[in-house]
Symmetry: C2
Subunit: 252 residues, 2 copies
């Protein structure tokens, strides 16, 4: 029968491999039978793929249960430290969290989505690597504010401005106005736009060449973020840290 359309240049086997890895990501410690059930693959297929991944060191097996190995960490970490600035940002995120006792994070953009690169904060950890809609986050808006018209056009075209919480900006016009304001004032707020009850504030981080590196932000329950706290403390502190990153990059 052949492929259904002539456009598919992909490699089906690779897709299967990652289907297995993604299944393991969601819940590690699965048996071959269990993975077979959760994917649309055959037992023998799962078996062969797992053996291959194990041989390559990306999957480990401990008494019948399969786990993702640390091999991917080596690849991922190299990626995360692609830009020297990212490493500097990591430290600042940590310091920021320690000093304010709020949740802190550093966000970058990829494929029109926000990706958490570093994070400090207590609750159910590991948001690192997760993706969020740019238009519904303070950090996201900071990044969008740097897009030129073309890029922003493509963004709203490809991504819907979906409603995530009661104050999410869903209109194109409103978004453009908001971004202009963000550009002007140099920071962005997220007042229950991503999740009800959640407040965020973020600033842009630039390289010494004045290119946008990412966005540094704080977030937490809305009640904590009083105007006073925000304008007399947090925003200045964020600007300081962003500046420190730039300076560290410029001079050792």
């Amino acid at each position: 029968m052949g492929p259904q359309n002539g456009e598919d240049v992909g490699v089906a086997t690779t897709r299967k491999t990652f289907a297995i890895l993604e299944t393991l990501r969601e819940s590690e410690g699965l048996s071959i039978a269990e993975i077979t059930r959760r994917t649309e693959l055959t037992k023998s297929t799962v078996y062969r793929h797992l053996k291959t991944l194990q041989e390559l060191g990306y999957v480990i097996e401990r008494d019948g249960e399969y786990y993702i190995g640390m091999g991917l960490l080596e690849i991922a970490e190299q990626t995360r430290n692609r830009e020297p600035g990212y490493t500097v940002a990591q430290r600042k995120v940590f310091d920021l969290g320690r000093e304010t006792d709020e949740r802190a994070m550093f966000l970058v953009e990829e494929n029109f989505e926000g990706v958490y690169l570093y994070r400090y904060g207590s609750p159910s950890n590991t948001m690192v690597g997760e993706r969020r809609p740019l238009h519904a986050l303070a950090s996201g808006k900071v990044i969008l504010a740097e897009f030129d018209d073309d890029r922003l056009e493509r963004f709203v075209e490809r991504k819907e401005l979906g409603q995530h919480a009661k104050n999410t900006i869903t209109g194109q016009g409103a978004l453009r106005e908001e971004l202009a304001e963000v550009r002007e004032q140099g920071y962005a707020l997220n007042d229950e736009e991503y999740m009800d009850g959640l407040f965020g504030v973020a600033v842009p981080v630039y390289t010494p060449e004045d290119e946008l590196l990412g966005s540094l932000g704080l977030f937490g329950p809305t009640s904590r973020f009083t105007d006073e706290y925000l304008y007399d403390d947090l925003i200045d502190r964020l600007w300081d840290k962003a500046g420190e990153i730039k300076v560290t990059l410029a001079y050792g």
Copy 2:
């Protein structure tokens, strides 16, 4: 002709996919032609695999150059936080580094190798995810000291006790004696055993159930680590931090 031996259950396509990813890991920002040159693959194969990986979100393309995307980060990070203890360890590594101004790290074992899970310290960053021989590190010896006889037997069988620096322990007998000593004193030293001029000290980290979680360590130039500094400060500090991890795990 068929497969050369009946033992090969692997998936060749998957191996090709990861050959490409590993090539990109070593040096990102490569063109299709460049990847073709560095691997043993055909141009069209590289092309097809890259398109697939891009579609899956694990590779991104920026004006003709291909990079590893942050998609793998999401998988890897989940793995790294598999054990709740790892997250706690991360913070302690950071604190340790800040307090002592030395390089700090947390190491776990996988496939008889040491894997850096977290790290604090200045120079050429990102050792995270990298692998090291267990017998040549302070942290490695701490982990080996917990192996039972069977496991240690298999370890020396599978891994050579290779010489990495002037003081590396390469004899089985010597290693066993050393491990007994480590067990007894509760810490391990690395006196130019992995790299000439490099000194390390490490302690084990246990869960509330007294299972080994990993090893917490400090390292730096040999000259810095005087006996006084070691025995009056660092080792006690490491023990403290390891204890704090255990306690944090037991009670919020």
